[in-house]
């Protein structure tokens, strides 16, 4: 393999990895605080893409305002889902919330099929985002560079919120123990709502970058990034924001390099990736970069 080819593959891997990573951060945030594997995250992501598509299509809103409106609507949707589907089950075993999130994912997908129709639509991409940067024989998408910069900024902002703000402190305490948090006078419901608003907002932000890179939207578009982000979050150490980014990167690398190195086995890629997920869960349940948390039941 020559250098320019290798570099192109690495560029492909990194840009894909950061898109996965950005979706995974949202997963990790919700899991970290509420300890819920939110299967519906990918479908909230899908709804975000449709919100933006329709606000810019129907109201002819300028691109940026459509995006911002989309993020706000998605945050509200996230909070609503939490209130309806997760809050009533908080006192029950975690498996109930898990099934509920599966049901919610299913519900959102079918809702989208009925309301938006099953066909693919084209997502509007503004001109500056369409550019390709050419460096010798290597080509990079302008969107990919924005994605990488933005992902890092997002993680920095989230870290700041978690470490330096009062709400962040509340979230961190909540992630340890609900009862203690309540005893310390923390408004549990409000903090959880805030977490979901933040997580769903993140899903919307990642949906923007995803749709800019892969501009087709359809009701099942959340499945693939959703499952990838979820694996990334687990591999990186679920609950850890930095781990989610790194997990996304590892996954991007695998997704790109398996077909690149072994083209005849490119069809087995999914099997390899899920095998990685299973092995990590069995032998290193805290992920490659997660902290030791002890209780894992």
């Amino acid at each position: 393999m020559d250098w320019s080819l290798f570099l192109q593959h690495m560029v492909n891997a990194i840009s894909l990895g950061f898109v996965f990573g950005l979706v995974a951060v949202g997963y990790a945030l919700v899991y970290g605080v509420v300890k819920l594997v939110n299967f519906a995250h990918g479908d909230v992501f899908m709804m975000a893409a449709y919100f933006m598509f329709y606000t810019s299509l129907i109201f002819g809103a300028p691109w940026l305002s459509a995006v911002i409106l989309g993020i706000v609507l998605t945050s509200l949707l996230g909070v609503g889902i939490e209130k309806v589907a997760y809050k009533p089950l908080r006192k029950y075993p975690r498996i109930n919330s898990l099934v509920s999130s599966i049901g919610m994912s299913f519900l959102l997908q079918n809702f989208a099929v009925v309301v938006f129709g099953g066909i693919q639509r084209s997502f509007p991409v503004p001109e500056p985002m369409k550019k390709t940067i050419v460096l010798g024989e290597v080509r990079i998408q302008a969107v990919s560079i924005y994605t990488i910069i933005f992902s890092i900024i997002v993680v920095l902002i989230l870290t700041f919120i978690l470490q330096k703000t009062k709400t962040g402190l509340a979230m961190r305490i909540l992630s340890r123990d609900f009862d203690t948090a309540r005893l310390m006078g923390i408004n549990v419901n409000r903090t959880i709502s805030f977490t979901f608003a933040l997580g769903s907002g993140l899903a919307a932000v990642s949906a923007v970058f995803w749709a800019l890179r892969y501009p087709q939207i359809f009701p099942f578009m959340g499945q693939y990034p959703g499952s990838r982000a979820f694996i990334a979050a687990v591999v990186g150490g679920i609950g850890s924001l930095k781990g989610a980014l790194i997990g996304g990167f590892v996954l991007g690398l695998l997704t790109v390099l398996i077909p690149a190195m072994f083209p005849e086995y490119s069809g087995y890629r999914e099997a390899f990736i899920f095998l990685l997920l299973v092995l990590v869960l069995i032998f290193k349940p805290n992920g490659l970069f997660g902290q030791e948390v002890g209780e894992k039941a």
Binding site: A85, P93, I95, S100, V114, G118, G267
Partner: protein
């Protein structure tokens, strides 16, 4: 009530069921018969998943994967060599599978055993991984199976799937296997094994302190559950006449989970009733996707409506019927007669 009386009553019930099957096979509309067949296959699936998820508390999302193994193994054994030859027109089926042709019953049994073997492999990690993490591991396993089946062109025919499977499945087969499943799992649950399984479900650490071998019991649940899932897969393949890797996706597992949640986790009676009802409901729901004429105005059918209603149903079950429709009330002959006598008294 004496044990022997109960057994006698149960045998009588089974005989009545078979008399029904006899007449149904002869005179019933093929459409209704097909729904009934599907319903009994759901019964096998729901009761077997209930052993893993309900009685042992090991949340598994791998049932569709077990079904796929059973469906493919049995189909490759009971299909005729000529039919296999015409199916594998891109890459030939590997030897000796291309020549084997065995009766349906043995093919089903081997399919179930292969699936049970897979159950052992999937169940083993349950000692290290728990709760939602185990759910994810089992989901991962079922995705790995799907990916392998899509790629192993010379064994599974890849995404082209197997077509033109002979239709052996009828009510005799599905009802008999459903009865076997119910009896076997009921016996396990009522035995000392069953008590150990429930102890594990309620408190794993305490169960281990009581000297219960966690590994042995959890794996047992997985192996038995997977065996019957494999049988159900084989029956379903022969009923549908065509199988492909992508029809055994996580969606199928969700449907079975919906059934056992509605019937009540750890409730066999509930699973049985809901499974059959579910098969009819899914058929009945088709009408929402068809164009309807109301007062001379044609309302076009809305595609996807059926699945939307199904998912709303699933959410309602999860949120409002946390104990299922039947809770923990199992069918017993005593309860049956009490129901009877009570009614007489009230009259």
């Amino acid at each position: 009530m004496k044990r022997s009386t109960r057994i006698m009553l149960s045998i009588m019930l089974i005989i009545i069921v078979y008399i029904f099957v006899f007449f149904a096979e002869k005179y019933m509309d093929p459409f209704i018969k097909r729904i009934l067949n599907t319903g009994f296959i759901y019964v096998i699936l729901a009761v077997s998943l209930n052993l893993i998820n309900g009685f042992t508390g090991q949340f598994s999302l791998g049932h569709a994967g077990f079904m796929a193994i059973g469906a493919y193994t049995s189909a490759l054994l009971y299909m005729s060599p000529e039919s296999k030859l015409s199916n594998f027109f891109m890459e030939p089926l590997i030897s000796p599978l291309d020549k084997i042709h065995i009766p349906f019953f043995w093919a089903l049994l081997i399919g179930g055993l292969m699936s049970a073997l897979m159950g052992f492999i999937v169940g083993a990690p349950s000692l290290r991984v728990r709760g939602d993490y185990l759910a994810i591991v089992t989901y991962g396993f079922s995705e790995i199976i799907r990916s392998l089946f899509n790629n192993l062109q010379n064994i599974t025919n890849g995404p082209l799937g197997l077509k033109g499977l002979p239709t052996y499945t009828n009510l005799w087969w599905t009802v008999s296997w459903a009865i076997v499943t119910i009896i076997v799992i009921r016996r396990i649950v009522d035995s000392s094994y069953g008590r150990a399984l429930k102890a594990i479900r309620d408190d794993e650490v305490a169960a281990e302190n009581l000297g219960i071998n966690l590994f042995k019991h959890k794996v047992l649940a997985f192996v038995v559950g997977a065996f019957f899932a494999g049988i159900a897969g084989g029956l379903l393949g022969s009923l549908l006449m065509t199988i492909d890797p992508n029809s055994f996706s996580i969606l199928f597992t969700y449907q079975i989970i919906t059934i056992i949640l509605l019937g009540g986790l750890g409730n066999i009676t509930g699973s049985v009733i809901v499974a059959i009802g579910f098969a009819f409901l899914m058929e009945a729901l088709r009408f929402v996707e068809m164009p309807m004429k109301i007062f001379g105005i044609t309302i076009p059918g809305i595609l996807g409506m059926r699945m939307l209603i199904f998912s709303i149903l699933l959410m309602i079950t999860i949120l409002f019927f946390r104990q299922g429709l039947f809770g923990q009330r199992e069918f017993t002959w005593e309860g049956f007669f009490r129901l009877f006598t009570k009614r007489k008294v009230s009259q």
